[in-house]
Symmetry: D3
Subunit: 286 residues, 6 copies
């Protein structure tokens, strides 16, 4: 069960409206790695959590915080849209600034959402739940979370560079700070689990059922061998089972597939017919 307090977690007030930036800021609200994604990802992981209590509690703590981040972004976007023009192109032509605004803003802000934030990304593409993952496996999901916070922070920093409005930057600096904390958080949580289980997800599959060489070979599926220079091509495997091996010319281990002819009821075999596989009764007639 949840409660709301009216104050925002942090200030969210731009120095002045900027409808074009409002469109851009949508990316970190309703985009693939926006706040809606981490909010829903952590809440679902928490609600579904079958592990010991501290994990469930932690997931719901951070999921609950993220609802407040969605709130901050919506508040900011609404204010950036204050005073968005409703005029037409001819007028814009006379004022290049207005022209830029009208060309660059999201038309749905003025037609659909009443100058409010939309649950979409910067191109108006709706948020959808395939952005999130809740697999029931703590280590797998903490890696998903670290990834989400890494992509998200990167996008916020890029957006920070695209404005100099001190109010927007103030809020972004807080969001950047929380994302730094959250990257730290997931790294610490990952280390905790890896210490118990090892680094492979899932750890529980028996190694004797693998095709062993394939667990350590880097396969060079291209002409040159520049890829041999990386830490992924030689030296110790992070899972401690041996060393990487570089295979310069990988060979197929399977055969060329030969599929059987299509079933007759698929009506896909050239040069056959006419026929009905499943004759049934006679047609009713016209």
């Amino acid at each position: 069960m949840f409660f709301h307090v009216k104050e925002l977690q942090y200030r969210a007030k731009p120095a002045k409206p900027d409808p074009v930036y409002a469109r851009k800021l949508q990316e970190v609200l309703g985009g693939q790695f926006g706040e809606m994604s981490v909010m829903m990802q952590y809440l679902f992981q928490g609600f579904n959590c079958r592990a010991e209590k501290k994990y469930r509690d932690m997931l719901l703590d951070i999921g609950t915080e993220e609802i407040g981040h969605v709130e901050m972004l919506c508040t900011m976007i609404s204010q950036l849209l204050d005073g968005a023009p409703a005029d037409q192109v001819d007028e814009a032509a006379k004022d290049p600034l207005l022209a830029a605004v009208m060309g660059g803003m999201n038309p749905q802000h003025a037609i659909v959402s009443g100058l409010g934030a939309a649950p979409t990304d910067s191109n108006g593409y709706p948020w959808n739940s395939k952005y999130i993952i809740s697999s029931g496996h703590l280590l797998a999901d903490f890696r998903a979370n670290l990834n989400a916070e890494s992509q998200g922070l990167l996008q916020v920093v890029r957006l920070y560079e695209q404005t100099t409005d001190p109010g927007i930057r103030d809020m972004l600096s807080f969001m950047i700070s929380r994302d730094i904390m959250h990257q730290n958080q997931w790294m610490a949580a990952i280390a905790e689990i890896e210490q118990m289980d090892g680094v492979i997800v899932p750890a529980s599959f028996p190694r004797e059922r693998t095709v062993e060489p394939a667990t350590r070979q880097f396969l060079n599926f291209s002409e040159g061998e520049e890829s041999a220079e990386g830490a992924w091509a030689s030296g110790p495997l992070p899972d401690g089972t041996g060393n990487f091996e570089y295979v310069a010319k990988p060979q197929p281990m399977g055969e060329a597939p030969v599929l059987s002819v299509p079933a007759d009821h698929q009506h896909s075999v050239p040069g056959t017919g006419p026929y009905v596989v499943n004759p049934g009764v006679e047609p009713l007639g016209e």
Copy 2:
């Protein structure tokens, strides 16, 4: 530019058809973390790569391998669909096995794809490119890749448990092996970059522009304090800037937002009107 060889990278031949399992196996072909996802993710990261050559080459090597994994899964699924029934429910009722098959298989395998693999997940939901990420930042993307290989391997292991067909398991054991290798690979690559740049993505944002306490505080947005027990709530921060701090009762740092009244041209203000903000010419009349 790419070339094809006719042999499969590994064997992909079931002991016998199983249309219900064909539906399930679609998940790791065209689902969120299926082979289509890693194939397209690595290819796009490689094509867009602006870093030194070994990264681009490595990304395209593994992306090219994954095209071959898509090929193996399609081949397997087509063979699992051999002999899928085309009959009707009445008949099924007499044979519970057939009933289970008909209830559990994907109807589109028999109507749309001609008993071939479909580019969708196990519920027939189409693959889409929002599953993948190519951000231009190596560390961010390698974390996305480690996540994809972790989720993907977890799903393959779960699918391994859901069949005892030795041919399917043979292929899955190879795919499991490659996913183990790929988890190793991304962990090695991540370590290489983190050594240079530190662990926060992106490393380049100046810390003095952050809200410093927010970069290390775990905020307990719930009643109990079970979340205080984890490595994320005390002890050293993975980024080396200090220690986690547990805030048991977080306070808002912002104010309650007060949005200004809607612009008149939005026609959203209760109790106003009738009016037209932008009068223009008179209406044409009827």
Copy 3:
């Protein structure tokens, strides 16, 4: 079965082309509450109607009218796109008007649809059938219809403010008029059903199976009590079963959930393994 007459239901001719406005007008053609939505919503409700004949007939009358509205909007958009520029940015730089046009128009109008209307919204997002509802329950669906006509009319009025072209406004004034009529229509139809069934959808669920206090309590899930001031917090319930009750501090009625540990075949339990739940035959070997 349907027939077409060549004349439009109403005039749809702009005074002059305006490719940027063409993009905006797409919202009420192929957006969430555009004409494609009401057309398909009414047709499906009509085709599926199991109630007495007058409802089916009425639904198909209005659904058929809406096909004609789609026709009018397509016609208008095609004409707004007449003369859209195909040039490049350098040229645009010299003419701010052209720059605004090129920045603000939908590139797919010039690349994909051949300067014709597209079945999408103003951001190029495709229409999809999750926009519509046909539940088989007349009152539920008439409320969906009243909502669709309310949102749709609001958007058309906003678009009316964003142009002064007399031809566009002429057509919009007709569409506004029909939407006013359709709001009237659904309100009358709703009243007719509510008189028979009461106001709750569905009326047929027995009240003694409800948790009675929960049917009338407004729960204040926030710190302040501003929400106590509305008609929803005190006074008579519209369904006539008593009065609203304001609960200032709602208490949980359930317990904290404790989920059981994951099934072994999910491979999600930390610190276990290696194992295979479903052993099957030995692996084939390499």
Copy 4:
């Protein structure tokens, strides 16, 4: 800013697992009118609210409650999935009950979500934000809300009929009760606004700019006249501006459209070419 308490708003514990019902229950979690939809709809309407404080507070109170409903449904679904089988079809054939379970459950529950709730509907289709509306217009949005609660309650009642598990029914009876309350709530709120503004959304568009007869005519776009019998075809208009009028044989008011020939740069005119409209420099040559 938000806080979480660990107890559920209401009990959510099934008498016994039922993986097939878990799939069905997903509809009211992540479907078009599931709890995710009302949660996000009310939160966005609240965050974007520019009206007086009581509306914002009320919207966020109910939005916050709905987060707790998502929590209850996830909890229920996880428990319904306890003990879901991971076996294969041959085994199922011997036990018709197991066959029904395996045919009817969502394969992603066992492959993707680790026997946890998924943010999707009963067919595995992901929730997306086009399900929700936040227009900035109170009356329009309250109608959207009344519709959502009507469709949602109808679906919950149908689901109630599809199980006799007393634990599931206990939880559903609470959700039914809250939906009854919420229908009451939106009706009361709607009445409050309609009293001020009249019943048409938006009220602010001047009637003299409409095509007046079109605001009251029911147009019979079909052969028979059954549709004349309803309250929408005669009698007073709900907006108080006069009476409905039934037009038995509607006539077109527009002309047959004649579109101009396509622009040359579209390369769509039959029988023309070869040419390049925008010649530019000579091609580079091979």
Copy 5:
């Protein structure tokens, strides 16, 4: 403008209900190549048509017919759903027929659409407008139409094989007949345009601007040369410009790409920072 007549274009009455088949039949209603697709495709091509009148009229004639096909399929599906069970799995276990029905039917038919047709495919995936094409080029679009009628007819024939219900087969035989006619129709229309314009779409691009050899070479991007045996590898080109040429070992004509380093404002360059490219004012401070 459109009119409706109450009679169906053809009979649509099953001999008895069959909820599992209802799910399957959804494919040709709301699937990629279902009747909704051809209906919307022809209507949009007609509404946007800038060519001479006979094309527009023809497109709207067939588009109008297809609305009636959607009507027939909805009618059929509603009747197939008559009597669908609403019970629970335990009961089903006792009756294998019922178990098959409950495992195989679409749960949304019983929860969402009130036992009516849904605007989705056989897996419950919603119809969307990316299924259709209206490019403004007659020949391109007639090829799209021939493709749609070919895929659609193939699917209907497959569905015909999956039932023996004489009522369903009666309706399907009519739909098969119309699809045969429509394949004929588009082939005739294609021939008419090709005679004027030649076979390449678009004909208007000047051949001297092409890379000539590339217009006739089949490139063998694989090891073997089985692909040399087809009509596409030797013999005359259908466009009459010469003969196919088989290139057994295609060589790259471009260079290995070298992308420049990322822009600093992207924060993607390893080993750099900390910095802000766009410094702006000082941060507000905490």
Copy 6:
């Protein structure tokens, strides 16, 4: 199995950056008929191919080539994005060229993809696998392929007109050339199959089961008869079974549908209730 060579199939280097054109070019990379579509369509058709070897080989040859086209387009787009501005609107106002750039470019190129190509169309809509078809029927699929190459080439020609950059045009001229070849290829392959099977897909359905007149009648569902003038309304049927017939006034062959009343468990019958069809145990109580 696949291999990569580092050189591009053809040059892909613009004369200078152009972020607005980068957005447009996305259409033929990740749009409905972009290179991702043909790549995936040919690969899936090849992987699923059950026909003789030359078809499978040919499909995989061309599918493999198309991976290289995706590579070329990504390379081009990345270079067009070099030097994209990261500044804010105020600055843009001073320079109309920059304003046009900022209004017209895709914000996600600067926020999400790090100035790299995105797997989306020109409006940022993600590529999805419903764009492709693999039906298992050679003739049906070759028609899909001819359509894809026709729509794709048309779009590339339109894009050619929208730039004069010699580097972009050089690459486009190669892509145009390959599309011309591929149209030729599919026409040749279609002719080969049609000679064996006739022109109707599928040829195998028995004509005596059709409603014969419906296989040759053009039905004029509109007032005028302009549609009688085309090759589709009179003259020989392409399938050789007779002549087209023009039906000026088509008559319904079915009856007006009358659906039965809804099942009680749907709770959709007005004026009934309260009741529970499936009573089960008593509710738990509050």
